[in-house]
């Protein structure tokens, strides 16, 4: 009984803290329509800052609290809104998700940079009034910290409810979500309200972090803290991101269940603690299952700022061929480490392709692509390897089986979420990713099910050999590089074919207007599901290739943060393009790696400037996130800019010949070792990016003028006005030729029984 009470009280307090974090999510989502994935990271940053003030510099608690909760946290929220989130109006859900993930990764990298977790002794974070301040209720001792947490949570709940129902500013915050323009026409200031709510949301995150950290009682770690508040996501979902009472209930249920698991599950069960860790994820999943289906919205046509143009099949073939040639030429001049890096980059590019397929075709996003890779790798490890020792090879059947299993697992994950809006699938995949990292990839013990003995992840490491397909052995580095490049090209071209098929067109229609598609008799869910399964399978294949390139993988290779970064960079590259995936792989693996190597080399070469170069090396860890955050400004991605630049080259023969000629010369010089590979990289960059820009400016200005680019039909009226020819063409396409439409006056004067 004593234990029960003790744990119940702990659970209530933990639930209170979860609720505070979740209510912050609800507040910001309510006013800006952005689900703040960075909520946990803000909490984490606040915990570290508070630690610095309180124990690092020995400030008194009230001063440190005032500084963190009263000034820094609200300021961070307001700045985040003004600088980043404000620009997201009119962008797709995917862009919103990705930008806030960018903020999350950025804050996390920042914290690891400032408070290097490996350098000093683990930081301890104490309860309020010290570890020994207890209140006594009969024989029951309860830490004051716990009591305070719960009281604050209730106060916050009452306060927020009061704000949203009883104050004009609060009601106006709800009005902003419905229609910011209309609020403006009423005389309200939507931007200011949204900024205030972000300041408030950030305050709530910080408060939750400071309350939770001493309750979990372990050493502070940036990653764990960031993910910890993800547990609050589940609570927020329980309230459907709207209802605060239900959010409170959700938070309590989740927290109580987790504490009871800790209290009563036998500690000799090896999976008790991983089960406790993944509980909130399991909850999130169940909640998604029971949430009622979204009403299809088709009445309001969103004019999104993203623009994606699928290339023609011919362009795809040319691009694919070019890529194979380029990879082959690179292989000739590159050192072995270079080949390895490029191969790894390509395997990541294949995984990123799965995201392009899902997002470009269905407008949904998967935040745990690498976890699907992990599933595939486990399948291959157990069923897809023939031979032993150095003779071991991954079989084709193994890869295919892995793809099938991943697709099925994908279906299982996606089915409940696909009925809902894109955000929910994003969350479901993220929950899945965390679940895989916490529950499956930690499985070291041998289990026996139906007499079948197996260990999912023995010794925490899996060795995956390179594949042998038919008679061809891809064990050599060069051969495997070409295999990966070929795989990327084949899948990429396949996707372009798919996009041009009837199936692809149906998907586009569905993405643009689910309601209209449903009335035409399409099954929206079935279409989305099929795409998700294909996408998961591609992620699986990419994951296997990645593992085969690395050789021996541990669970870090499938870390959720890596998945998030990959999704983010793919969106930055241009999630609507096959080349966006290539960009993601190259950037995330090769570019960052090369940058690091270069900086380290400089730091050694110029030892007097070492501090500066070390600073830049740390800055590189923040770089991808910073780039992700800028997405709001250019939601179509970097590739679309590069494509625009390349279009200039394509349209001018002299420029094209110049660029190709120069590049060939640079390559020849490198191949004959006249210049080094570093020079090759820099010169190539200059040639491909700068020459088109400069050349385009000076040579092309005249030639380009007056040559209008063809505008695809869906963008007519947005990129340029409708002309009579367009209308005629449309009539023809719709078979309206010769159909006499009554004049608009007669239609309007006698609306039979029109309704809203």
């Amino acid at each position: 009984m004593q234990t029960f009470l003790q744990y119940t009280i702990l659970g209530l307090a933990l639930g209170g803290a979860y609720f505070i974090a979740a209510s912050g999510l609800v507040v910001t989502y309510t006013t800006s329509g952005i689900f703040n994935f960075a909520q946990g990271a803000i909490a984490m940053l606040a915990v570290f800052t508070y630690w610095q003030f309180r124990w690092g510099w020995g400030w008194p608690a009230p001063l440190a609290l005032l500084m963190v909760l009263g000034i820094l946290a609200p300021l961070l929220g307001a700045v985040l809104y003004q600088v980043v989130m404000k620009n997201l109006r009119g962008t797709s859900e995917v862009t919103k998700i990705i930008v806030s993930i960018g903020v999350m990764l950025g804050l996390q990298a920042l914290a690891t940079w400032v408070w290097n977790p490996t350098s000093s002794t683990p930081r301890q974070f104490q309860k309020f009034f010290g570890p020994n301040a207890f209140a006594h209720f009969g024989s029951l001792r309860v830490p004051w910290h716990i009591i305070i947490s719960f009281i604050i949570a209730i106060a916050i709940a009452v306060g927020i409810r009061f704000l949203f129902v009883r104050t004009r500013s609060g009601v106006a915050m709800r009005a902003v979500v419905d229609d910011p323009e209309l609020l403006q026409l009423n005389g309200g200031r939507p931007e200011r309200l949204a900024m205030i709510s972000w300041a408030g949301g950030s305050f709530l995150a910080a408060l939750a972090g400071i309350l939770i950290q001493p309750m979990i009682g372990s050493a502070m770690s940036a990653g764990a803290l960031t993910l910890l508040v993800i547990d609050a996501f589940a609570a927020a979902m329980f309230g459907r991101l709207r209802s605060l009472p239900r959010t409170f209930m959700g938070a309590l249920i989740i927290a109580l269940t987790t504490t009871y698991v800790v209290a009563y599950f036998p500690s000799k069960w090896t999976w008790s603690s991983s089960f406790r860790n993944s509980l909130p994820m399991i909850f999130l999943f169940i909640i998604l299952l029971v949430l009622p289906q979204d009403r299809l919205r088709g009445a309001t046509v969103l004019r999104l700022r993203e623009r994606f143009r699928m290339p023609s099949i011919r362009t795809a073939w040319i691009a694919g061929l070019t890529m194979m040639i380029v990879v082959f030429c690179l292989k000739v001049i590159m050192a072995k480490t270079g080949v390895n890096t490029l191969t790894l980059a390509l395997t990541f590019a294949i995984i990123a392709l799965s995201l392009v397929l899902l997002t470009g075709f269905a407008g949904e996003i998967n935040l745990a692509a690498l976890s699907f890779g992990a599933i595939a790798v486990m399948v291959v490890y157990h069923f897809g390897i023939s031979g032993t020792g150095t003779e071991a090879r991954t079989t084709l059947w193994g890869i295919l089986l892995a793809a099938v299993v991943t697709a099925l697992v994908g279906a299982l994950i996606a089915l409940p979420a696909l009925r809902l809006r894109g955000l929910y699938l994003a969350l479901a995949t993220m929950a899945f990713g965390v679940f895989i990292s916490r529950m499956v990839l930690t499985e070291r013990t041998e289990r026996e099910i139906f007499g079948l003995k197996f260990t999912l992840f023995p010794t925490g490491q899996l060795s995956i050999p390179r594949p042998k397909i038919g008679p061809i052995d891809f064990n050599g580095g060069d051969a495997f590089l070409l295999l990966c490049a070929g795989l990327f090209v084949v899948i990429g071209i396949g996707m372009v074919y798919l996009r041009h098929s009837g199936y692809g067109r149906r998907l586009t229609a569905m993405k643009d207007s689910p309601a209209a598609s449903a009335t035409l008799g399409m099954s929206v869910v079935r279409l989305k599901l099929s795409i998700f399964m294909m996408s998961a399978a591609i992620a699986g294949i990419g994951g296997v290739m990645m593992a085969a390139q690395v050789g021996t993988v541990n669970s870090d290779r499938f870390d959720i943060f890596l998945s998030l970064a990959l999704a983010m960079i793919t969106v930055v590259g241009g999630i609507g393009y096959v080349s966006g995936a290539l960009f993601a792989g190259i950037f995330l693996i090769a570019f960052i790696e090369a940058l690091n190597l270069m900086l380290k080399k400089f730091a050694v070469d110029y030892s007097s400037l070492e501090a500066i170069f070390m600073f830049f090396i740390s800055a590189v860890t923040v770089l991808p996130a910073t780039i992700g955050i800028t997405m709001g400004k250019n939601p179509s991605g970097a590739v679309s800019d590069i494509v625009e630049g390349m279009n200039k080259v394509k349209q001018s023969k002299p420029l094209m010949i110049t660029v190709i000629g120069l590049e060939a010369a640079i390559w020849a010089l490198t191949a004959t070792e006249v210049i080094t590979n570093w020079h090759f990289v820099i010169l190539t960059f200059a040639n491909l990016i700068l020459v088109p820009i400069v050349g385009g400016k000076f040579l092309m200005a005249r030639a380009m003028r007056g040559v209008p680019k063809p505008v695809p039909p869906e963008l007519i009226g947005i990129d340029r006005p409708f002309t009579d020819e367009d209308l005629a063409a449309m009539d023809q396409a719709l078979n309206l030729d010769g159909v006499v439409i009554p004049s608009s006056t007669t239609l309007r004067e006698e609306p039979a029984n029109a309704s809203a």
């Binding site: 009005a175 209309l182 403006q184 009423n186 005389g187 004049s743 309704s755």
Partner: protein
């Protein structure tokens, strides 16, 4: 309100137009939609903007209400140039706009919708009193979410806002959209009454016949230009030409 520019030599003169557009051009992105529009709404009168779909009527209203800044030309309110002012500033100095098709916040209750109207300066009690007196139906449903009201009731709610904030200028975009003729006639009767109280009103409408019954002037909008301004009687012929496209 520092961004409201006062125009040197245009004080608010009695009888001078309350709303005036001088050679206004406006664009969405790079596409120009208004190509030099001139228009004036005299104090206390109803001016109807007529024209086919896509002519630019809503865009004219958006420019006046401050939602879309003009690329060139001048927008004047009571003689002051207000080109740089934002929509919320204009709303607080007495411009009331009912936008096309969606004048209410669907997820707020009727009462909360009216509460939002108080940001223009009139206290809630007074707003509610005016609104429920004019539309008793709303009084019965003050707790109901606006999104669940019928189309006609929603339009009543947005009209209620227009009536209760004491605007000096009222911009109405397609009041009739999706409503039964009887409801439309009713709403326009109210509009006529409001204008008699001295409010200057600019209405965009396709439902030409009803609005012409109450308008003092009408302007025909075609392809982003105002092709003709006159009294309703003068415009009969042009009107049918504009709509029938002959």
């Amino acid at each position: 309100m520092s961004e409201v520019h006062y125009h040197e030599d245009h004080g608010a003169v009695d009888g001078a137009p309350l709303v005036e557009l001088v050679d206004v051009r406006a664009a969405y992105g790079t596409i120009e939609v208004l190509h030099g529009v001139n228009l004036s709404v005299p104090q206390g009168s109803v001016v109807a903007l007529l024209g086919p779909n896509g002519a630019g009527k809503s865009t004219i209203l958006k420019v006046i209400s401050g939602l879309l800044p003009p690329t060139s030309g001048e927008v004047r309110l009571a003689g002051r140039m207000v080109n740089g002012a934002s929509a919320d500033q204009l709303a607080r100095i007495g411009l009331c706009t009912i936008p096309e098709g969606r004048g209410v916040f669907p997820n707020l209750s009727v009462r909360e919708n009216l509460w939002m109207a108080t940001m223009a300066g009139v206290p809630l009690a007074q707003v509610e009193e005016t609104a429920y007196a004019r539309f008793p139906r709303l009084g019965e449903r003050r707790k109901q979410l606006a999104g669940t009201l019928s189309g006609g009731e929603q339009q009543m709610l947005s009209m209620a806002r227009a009536l209760s904030v004491n605007p000096s200028v009222l911009l109405l975009d397609e009041l009739s959209m999706g409503l039964a003729p009887l409801v439309v006639a009713n709403l326009y009767e109210i509009v006529a009454q409001v204008s008699q109280e001295g409010v200057s009103i600019l209405v965009s409408e396709q439902f030409a016949r009803t609005v012409l019954g109450i308008a003092q002037y009408a302007a025909i909008v075609l392809h982003g230009n105002i092709t003709r301004v006159g009294t309703p009687a003068e415009l009969e012929d042009e009107l049918s030409a504009a709509y029938l496209g002959s």
